[in-house]
Amino acid sequence: MLAAALRKELLLQWRSRSQMMAVFVFGASSLLLFSFAVGPNAEMLRTFSAGFLWLGLLLSSTLTLSESFHAEMENRALEGMLLLPSDPRALYYGKAIANWLQLTILGVALVPVMVVLYDAGTMQLPRLLLIIALGAAGLSAPGTLYAAMTAQVRAKQTLLPLLLFPLIVPALLASVKATSLVILGDPMQQSRAWIALLGAFDLIYWSLCGLLYGRVVEE
């Protein structure tokens, strides 16, 4: 059931890939704008590069997350799926995994932009990929749950960030810190602790949100 739900989500995302491209352009242009907030100071830009990358990804994520429930609201598709003899948890995890993949790809795509704009390169690519994957998982688990709520109300564009931003403070903090240590050098080996914190956050919210999702979509 989970595989079927995931397949449906991935197919949906593949068919709307132009939307993904637009979100990427949005993220990249926000990275460009952040540099105007700091000024043409190469050293400072490099120092803040990790924070800018994650803020760019966070802002873009509100677009992809709310979009992921857009199709469900048309023609009451969500209600139709809930009528199927299936566990709503499978629907949740299918969507959350699809969102996670999308955000990870988006994050990876934003890295070259960051490298070019802020001169913030690194050779520890596997570790950077791990951090992006874990951070994207931290965004997608509560983000998918909140998107399921806010997609059904008016003012959804405002409500989703309002609910999501305070919640993901620990994940954002840990992702920025770990990414920044990877880029700027990590003499004290601290990035491992931040990755562990990120993993713990993911574990808590992937299980908790899966448990609660059934209650959110029930009629």
Partner: protein, 226 residues
């Protein structure tokens, strides 16, 4: 309704006596001087804020298990009082921080966690305002309250680790016995005030719910329009 007002009056009385003792009778603190006297309201607010968050969390869980509307009304009251106390805590903390640390704001784990939860609760209250179907509103707010409350300890510890890499803030000194009485009186004062507020606010929420249930049925198919 009546009992709520009695608690509010009791809280105000305790606060008046406790604050009088704290402002005029208790000695000034050795290092911080008179600035430290804000502790007599700040610490009781902090304790009771934690109680309010726990109360809202408990009501949210109780609602999800029982689906009885009285828990929704109680949760609404807990959320609102928790938001109010978090706001008060941020203001009091800033007032205390300016003369002591020289800045209005510091990335202290306690201060930051309170601010994060303040915004999380404001978000949930906004969600309450935007959902018209009472049943849905109750379930969603209960879910959001549980998720936000679980976040609180994670925020606290992550900010603590994060900040410890920059600077370590001095912890409040252990308190001498001459400070105890005003602190205790005010702690009970704020507690009674909070209980009174929650009772009054719960009654208002219940009356609103009753009116909503009795009114014309909420139109279906909102998702279609959106």
């Amino acid at each position: 309704m009546r009992k709520g007002w009695i608690f509010v009056a009791l809280g105000v009385a305790f606060l008046l006596v406790g604050s009088y003792l704290g402002l005029f009778v208790a000695p000034a603190e050795q290092y911080m001087g008179n600035v430290q006297r804000i502790m007599y309201v700040h610490v009781p607010t902090a304790w009771n804020w934690m109680l309010a968050v726990l109360y809202a969390f408990g009501c949210a869980i109780a609602f999800l298990f029982t689906a009885r509307t009285k828990w929704d009304a109680r949760m609404e009251a807990g959320l609102e009082v928790g938001t109010l106390f978090a706001f008060l805590l941020c203001c009091q903390g800033a007032i205390w921080a300016k003369p002591t640390w020289g800045v209005w704001w510091d990335w202290d784990p306690r201060l930051t966690s309170v601010a994060v939860l303040l915004f999380a609760f404001l978000g949930i209250l906004a969600l309450r305002g935007f959902v018209d179907d009472p049943q849905r509103r109750a379930v969603w707010c209960a879910v959001a309250t549980i998720i936000a409350s679980v976040d609180l300890p994670i925020v606290y510890y992550s900010v603590k680790w994060w900040n410890s890499l920059h600077q370590q803030q001095s912890t409040p000194q252990t308190v001498s016995s001459s400070f105890h009485l005003p602190l205790r009186l005010n702690a009970f004062g704020v507690l009674f005030l909070m209980i009174g507020f929650i009772m009054l606010r719960t009654r208002i929420a219940e009356m609103r719910l009753e009116r909503e249930m009795a009114g014309p049925p909420v139109s279906m198919g909102e998702g279609e329009l959106a």
